[in-house]
Symmetry: C2
Subunit: 241 residues, 2 copies
């Protein structure tokens, strides 16, 4: 029997778990934005000596008195000033040597924000938007985390209409299509794209038009989140509250 055996099965014994492991837990936040028709992610300078000059994701240790979801919101808010943003847990990375400072298990989240709409709260530590496709390496295992989150994003936008979080409140169909194409890395047929989007019945014509474009302006739409939430509830829960 292993030396740990007597302390095993935390769920079946009253063993105190305080002071048992010297393992820290952190969250890392992959914050996606869409700017200049390119998907970007918020990066910060990493000044850990082992990764001098590398960029890293936004992350922090989880405080003893906060939920991990809350921790992630806190980080995001501290850096961007944004609230009520799309934020979703993706995966937990727990390899023993993933962090040179010690055992740090990290839970990765991704977030979708409107990059153009607001100013970053602070540009300290080199905080900036970095094109996802121009990132070859990152500090720690952050490239791996980024790739995992990006893949999750690609899959998710084909299942649920979450891309609107990356756009202004009002947007043209062209912007929306550019966004899908940027994330998925494919070209889409414009007519079929329109048909599909409209048939979902979740776009509302604002009666406004684009301006300042060097060609025929397109209509501007908003996403009907309420209607989507209702539809969704019907599908998932079965009844209408």
């Amino acid at each position: 029997m292993s030396p740990y055996q007597e302390q095993l099965n935390i769920n079946t014994s009253a063993t105190s778990v305080h002071n048992y492991f010297k393992t820290a837990i952190s969250v890392d936040c992959v914050i996606f934005g869409f700017e200049d028709n390119v998907i970007k992610v918020l990066l910060i300078k990493c000044d850990h000596p082992d990764f001098k000059g590398k960029w890293s994701l936004l992350g922090d240790l989880v405080r003893p008195d906060e939920d991990i979801d809350t921790a992630c919101y806190r980080i995001l808010n501290e850096r961007t000033g944004l609230e009520n943003v799309f934020l979703e847990q993706v995966h937990t990375f727990g390899a023993v040597s993933r962090h040179p400072a010690g055992r740090v298990i990290t839970t990765a989240y991704y977030s979708l924000v409107n990059a153009g709409h607001y100013q970053l709260k602070t540009l300290a530590n080199g905080l900036h938007w970095h094109p996802v496709h121009e990132i070859a390496t990152l500090a720690f295992d952050h490239k791996n985390i980024l790739d995992t989150c990006y893949h999750t994003l690609q899959k998710k936008i084909q299942e649920e209409p979450i891309v609107f979080n990356l756009l202004e409140n009002k947007f043209s169909l062209r912007e929306l299509q550019n966004l899908y194409e940027a994330i998925l890395g494919v070209k889409l047929d414009r007519r079929n794209f329109r048909k599909k989007l409209f048939s979902a019945g979740l776009l509302v014509d604002t009666e406004e038009m684009e301006s300042d474009v060097p060609h025929r302006p397109g209509k501007l739409y908003t996403f009907d989140q309420q209607k989507y939430d209702k539809l969704r509830r019907k599908y998932i829960g079965g009844f209408d509250l």
Copy 2:
């Protein structure tokens, strides 16, 4: 500025993280099996005083020197004796008060095993297969964890052919269909089901038949995992290694 501020940003400073938080990390393993045409899950008696008489999932603290994936394999192996089983991370539950013994953040995995094929290594602590649909409550937040994993399973089997992990090596189409129906909670059309499965081209006729059935015996098939892995690589990676 918060009192934690100076210790923030583990990814950007050389702060030692040892001894910083009194937070433990555990893994909980939702081990699914298929028996008597019903989906079951391995449960164990919970003797934490706050949940006397309740059942709980199999879980354990992660050791300081093991990856969290490894920890999960270890638990599974200790209890079932199985190796090389399907095991996948689902979600990390990190609410502050989810565990009465202290701050325990847990990462949930689900596993698919062939329940009939082998004997449980030990029946100590009331280890047993419990029908998923007869579980109303569990200790801690384990009901929530179970529901999350079950939902993930339902979604996943519609995307990837992982259900074979729950069956014997050789199986009839009827067994396979029963399994899908049990997990998804729907009735499927037998003819369409066959068409779909065969069109995927991943079932191999073993030239054997069922025996001991009180009706016309069906053919037995195996799942062509190698062929699937190749197809998958083509789709995902683009090239054939």
